[in-house]
Symmetry: C2
Subunit: 279 residues, 2 copies
């Protein structure tokens, strides 16, 4: 049982991790050494105090040096669900299970809005996790929307199982040369079906599918059932408390401004709130 689980490795996650470490809290941190798409893809950051006119890549390098220097480990797994279990939380990564007394959500915001029908068919043909649900589509036809090149491995995993994969890249540089992978260009408009998802509708054409995988940063409200949101963003107070006791949120997932300094600030506050809560 960990004292805290941090989910997300953008500026908020980095800040929370450094502060929990300084406070000597026993935590697990889910994220990626890419840190975040937002950090690594930023062209020039002009207003983060302490790092003068850095590129995203330079900010990433500075953060990684600091994390490694502090002896902090990043657990490179994708969290697929967070479940309150009485006085603690269970964090699910596919079929793996972790327990923590508190959770800090620092998942960022996904630039891609939900497709019409996405939430309706979630669990009925729509999945966010290739590792978890891939096996259900062995020999079948799936569409895979993917917002991050880093998730290429999950697409390949699906291609190894499914008969046919329609890959809808919503990012640059994602190309998979497999016989059963067909790349489809365009933004899907709707997922249609009766009991389950059956069609992925684009402006000029429609794909017939058995399932749709949405490979993107998980939205907090999908991760945690019952999480209170406001216009799609996690509702917190100044202490970063959500409507669940022991569950805190920080960074872009809590709303504008979408800024590194704001995210780092909230990550720091969340770590202190966790510390107070554990006492």
């Amino acid at each position: 049982m960990y004292d805290c689980a941090i989910i997300g490795s953008g500026a908020a996650g980095v800040s929370a991790a450094l502060t929990l470490k300084a406070l000597n809290v026993n935590f697990i941190w889910f994220g990626s050494r890419a840190l975040s798409k937002k950090i690594s893809s930023a062209e020039k950051i002009k207003n983060y105090p302490g790092l003068q006119d850095v590129s995203g890549e330079e900010m990433r390098a500075a953060f990684l040096r600091q994390i490694d220097g502090a002896g902090i480990t990043l657990t490179e797994k994708t969290v697929t669900g967070v479940y309150p279990t009485g006085s603690a939380y269970t964090v699910l990564c596919g079929e793996e299970l972790f327990e923590a007394k508190t959770v800090i959500l620092a998942t960022g915001v996904e630039a891609v809005k939900p497709v019409k029908g996405e939430l309706e068919f979630l669990g009925k043909g729509v999945s966010y996790c290739a590792t978890c649900d891939g096996a259900l589509y062995r020999g079948k036809t799936v569409a895979v929307l993917c917002t991050q090149k880093e998730m290429e491995g999950e697409v390949r995993f699906l291609a190894s199982l499914a008969k046919k994969v329609y890959l809808v890249p919503l990012c640059q540089g994602l190309e998979i040369a497999e016989k059963n992978v067909e790349t489809v260009r365009g933004m899907p408009l709707e997922i249609k079906g009766n009991a389950r998802a059956e069609q992925l509708v684009f402006r000029d054409f429609t794909l017939t599918i058995d399932g749709v995988f949405m490979l993107k940063s998980a939205s907090p409200a999908v991760l945690v059932k019952g999480l209170e949101t406001e216009e799609g963003q996690v509702k917190i107070n100044r202490k970063t408390e959500t409507n669940f006791k022991g569950l805190f949120a920080a960074g872009d997932c809590t709303g504008r401004p979408y800024q590194y300094a704001k995210a780092a600030g909230e990550g720091n506050v969340a770590a202190h709130a966790v510390f107070e809560y554990l006492k």
Copy 2:
């Protein structure tokens, strides 16, 4: 008329200034190139994302490089009052007057609590500003409490006017070798008097005085009459809004955790709130 006045040059002020500059807002920034006592005196900072294990002096150097690089000017004046004037604010620095449509208070917290009687006799023998009120004590006897070595100049100014100065240093390294300056060691307990301040009471002795100067960072509630506070700290919401429209607050003056990242985050949010407000 400026669009914004930032008061204070700790991490919150620095962050607000960098962001207002990036947003192309026309602002004036009151502070000191020492930035803040807290920054320059920190031994080792372990959890500020982006600056690995820096000393306060190194953080200060990094912030100054960035400020200078962005072409931002620090106005090294002490703000003595902020007055709402209809739709804008007047910022007073002694006898000098500046106008701004919005204000960001980033004054930090003063480690030294008010002395008993301090607020009662404010304006009746108690003053926070040597430049403003010094002339009233020409040829008289004053006590000067001073929490920052950087304010030495103000003590010298008072010594040039008053007959006698009792200097009560509440910091290290403050020594003034003038014939009419007597250094008094200890923490004053109370200011006593009838209509005006007449005595400064210590545990073992009492000074008879005509006035008491409290040379320390101004508390926001003293700067802005009617500012809503909670346990002595400025009450803000998540947008850093105070109970005055157009008046925002950020950093340690808004409460715990007293952390650089939290302060920088709030400074960033305040700058964006100003930008929204001006639109």
